[in-house]
Symmetry: C2
Subunit: 316 residues, 2 copies
DNA sequence: GTAAAGTATGAAACGCATTTCAGATCAAGT
DNA sequence: ACTTGATCTGAAATGCGTTTCATACTTTAC
């Protein structure tokens, strides 16, 4: 198959000229250009991309850290990233962490090793300072509210979204509002608690259901909700999958939505429409696209909040 | 930051010795080993992985071709692949094709360029011969029924699964059975038609709904189903998402499941349980894990059919 | 006591493309 | 006729780690 020098020899030119032809540089005579092209063809030449990476010092590859690839929230962000990557001729390296810190560090190290030019962190477990340390090796994009000067960020204002959702419920007469979160110490969980406290001054712990990420979790939460002595009359739920599980299980248990319990979900996942779930639409695909753009623009650090909108359906 | 030669100089050894230490080769004296480690520490040495890739001629990276990353079917396979990759210290490069042939070719070329050691094709658009040509550059794993000698495969027997589902419905008295497919010329669509013909000898075209991949498609199909003069009394549906859309829309339109129309889905996605969808459980996570193992075992070509099971719920 | 086997080390070759620098040529401008 | 500036071209340096081969010194084995 040969390399660039073989082509050079066969075409009677130097390796530099071959490289120029192969990279469409100007200043190569038509005859030599053709000779190189012919020789490359004849030798069935294929670039060794690793040599290019080594030589150029970059790989046109972006790493993506996400806890679960097949979760609709992260999957949709990933889809947006992938679409933008394709458009820009970049490759994508994904690391599914399952919320494991070591996996995350592994991914961060890909940048240190020059395996990727940039890194998009859709969900973070490591301390932020640690992540920031890595920003010397390449561009890091955080999908969370963050305004430091070393890393870009693109995020949904969970505090605002949650507050708006609570207010929406309060305005409709609800005062007993429960909510679900993924992990108690998660960043958006804290934002939710803060928002809740700002509206109601007090969070009743038994109305906070953690570990809610999947449909099954929604089913489980419905069971837990049912057993409460003082049941919330409304629930703000992590995402539409959890909401779907919750609503379907509530119905199975004989409760009415929104009669017995009103529900607001998050994401505006396609499942929300046929289930009539009132939800907060999050432009996740778009968020992914922005994250990608930030990742390939290491020089300009920006912080972009993407808007959300309440989609009113029948669950409230 | 320095490279291996800087370390060698500082430690007073040769680059070969440094490489040996860094790769845990035996035959290095304790003193020199320590000297190298100290020097590496002192220089904050970090390997340039691209040099390693170039030198070794492989990247410990597997490429994954899939049409949509955020689709539950492919997302779950990907999740299995990702889990196996992590366990084996491999990286993953993903290419979201959106069923675009050029994207697929792009991905195939990653192997030619030595960017990835192997490739897992979860869904294929290119002619099989073309894909096979690439198998000289690395290991290719197909997630479809295939028994050639150059590429491994891991797949669900769609013909068998579909036939079993139809028989299941027929045994329960259904003779007017419709079904949905993704694309008319898709491989599993052909398998479905064949299975259908084997049971009923004749496929009524208006009972075949194509372009059914998402929840929205399910909603649309429900509308189409309603408008038929002769409505099927049972539907075999592409996957549980489409089934969910179909069922929810049917209910909204005032029909009973399974009274007016029985439904069987595919995948056994978590949404199927709370919706009571009778479905064919497909071990997609496992399929992904197997695919990965095959991808990193280029020497042994295997063909593995993974089993499916009918999960009986209330939609039939 | 000598052959065989094991341990330890470095030089050099290998993998390969890109890019800078210096030199050469040719056309255009004054 | 002479200076610029643009167009070509190749040698050599650069990016960097791995691995083979040759060599030399120790042990063990018989």
């Amino acid at each position: 198959m040969g390399n660039i020098h073989d082509i050079a020899r066969l075409a009677g030119v130097s390796a530099s000229t071959v490289s120029r032809v192969l990279n469409n540089h100007p200043y190569v005579s038509t005859e030599k250009r053709q000779a190189v092209l012919d020789a490359a063809e004849q030798l069935h030449y294929e670039k060794n991309i690793n040599a290019v990476h080594l030589s150029r010092g970059k790989t046109e590859t972006i790493g993506v850290i996400l806890p679960y690839v097949n979760h609709p929230y992260f999957g949709t962000i990933l889809s947006g990233i992938a679409a933008a990557a394709e458009e820009n001729g970049f490759k994508l390296m994904i690391v599914q962490t399952k919320y494991d810190v070591n996996q995350e560090i592994d991914a961060l190290n890909m940048m240190k090793l020059k395996q990727v030019d940039g890194l998009i962190i859709t969900s973070r477990e490591c301390p932020i300072e640690m992540v920031e340390d890595y920003s010397t090796y390449g561009s890091i994009v955080l999908c969370e509210a963050w305004t430091g000067s070393q890393m870009s960020s693109v995020y949904i204002n969970h505090f605002k979204a949650f507050k708006e959702a609570i207010t929406f419920l309060k305005d409709r007469g609800h005062s007993k509002i429960g909510y679900t979160i993924v992990r108690v110490d998660g960043k958006s969980s804290i934002a939710r608690r803060n928002a809740y406290e700002e509206v109601f001054h007090y969070v009743r712990d038994e109305w906070v259901f953690d570990n809610s990420l999947t449909i099954e979790d929604g089913v489980r939460v419905a069971g837990e909700w049912k057993e409460l002595e003082k049941r919330p009359t409304a629930m703000l739920i992590t995402n539409d999958f959890v909401a779907a599980g919750f609503i379907l299980e509530c119905r199975r248990l004989g409760f009415q939505i929104p009669g017995d319990v009103a529900v607001i979900g998050f994401d505006n996942h396609p499942i929300a429409a046929p289930l009539g779930i009132t939800t907060i639409d999050l432009p996740l695909q778009r968020l992914g696209e922005i994250a990608f753009q930030q990742a390939i623009s290491p020089t300009e650090i920006t912080h972009q909040e993407v808007p959300f909108t309440i989609v009113k359906r029948e669950s409230v």
